[in-house]
Symmetry: C2
């Protein structure tokens, strides 16, 4: 395999990821959630299950805890999250999604589903499943971080 093939594959992967990010973002906006940037989506993904501390979030997003704290401030101010006392550690605070935050998460899922549906129209369902399977096997198991 030539270097130029590797570049073509890389470009396709980055273009697909960029397009997906943009479509999800547009879909979320279209569903009435404003003032959010794609980076917030990564935060929602970490907060969704059971909440998280600011330090957890910072590690997940690959940023300092100060920056994560600012980001949480913003989510709180906009009503998507709230800080609650941590049940087991008086230093820590558990950041949890509000009902509005959950609604936004569902909107993001719906937008992602729309984007994937467009791929199914082009490739067919089995091909899309195969694509997902292969991506999973080459994706670094770790956290999904905005890397550039």
């Amino acid at each position: 395999m030539q270097n130029s093939d590797a570049m073509a594959l890389s470009a396709a992967l980055l273009a697909a990821a960029g397009g997906l990010t943009q479509r999800i973002h547009e879909g979320v906006v279209a569903r009435g959630f404003e003032g959010l940037r794609p980076a917030h989506g990564f935060a929602f993904a970490r907060l969704a299950p059971d909440g998280a501390t600011v330090t957890d979030l910072a590690a997940h997003l690959g940023m300092t805890k100060q920056a994560a704290s600012q980001l949480v401030d913003e989510l709180v101010r906009k009503g998507y999250a709230e800080r609650r006392p941590h049940p087991a550690d008086a230093r820590a605070r558990l950041v949890m999604l509000t009902e509005s935050g959950w609604a936004c998460t569902r909107a993001a899922e719906a937008a992602a589903a729309d984007a994937v549906r467009a791929w199914v129209d082009v490739l067919g369902e089995s091909e899309v499943r195969a694509l997902g399977d292969r991506l999973l096997r080459i994706a670094p198991g770790g956290p999904v971080r905005p890397a550039w």
Copy 2:
């Protein structure tokens, strides 16, 4: 296909793209090119064939021409590009890669090839080719822009 499947596929795609970006960047640094951010790679891709004007570059990168101009300033200051008079338009200036810029482009190709080689080890060559083929078909034909 469930919404949760779409999210899993999206996460895998974004993780793969993020990992690839990071690996390319690390590979470029490891080959001795410093002071460059991943975003510069997108600029190099546009400059590589025959040079480009600042306005072209801005459109390609999805930013204002002022920002693109600043970015070119930086590349010039670091010796990767140079501004030459445009042969057919006295207003415009043609930004071209220097020999050092070409060397950096080759380093990025080599780093991408390394990353792809790691995928081949996991999936096998034919699967990786199939992956690239499918990505090309779902990627928005347009320019590769850093979308978040």
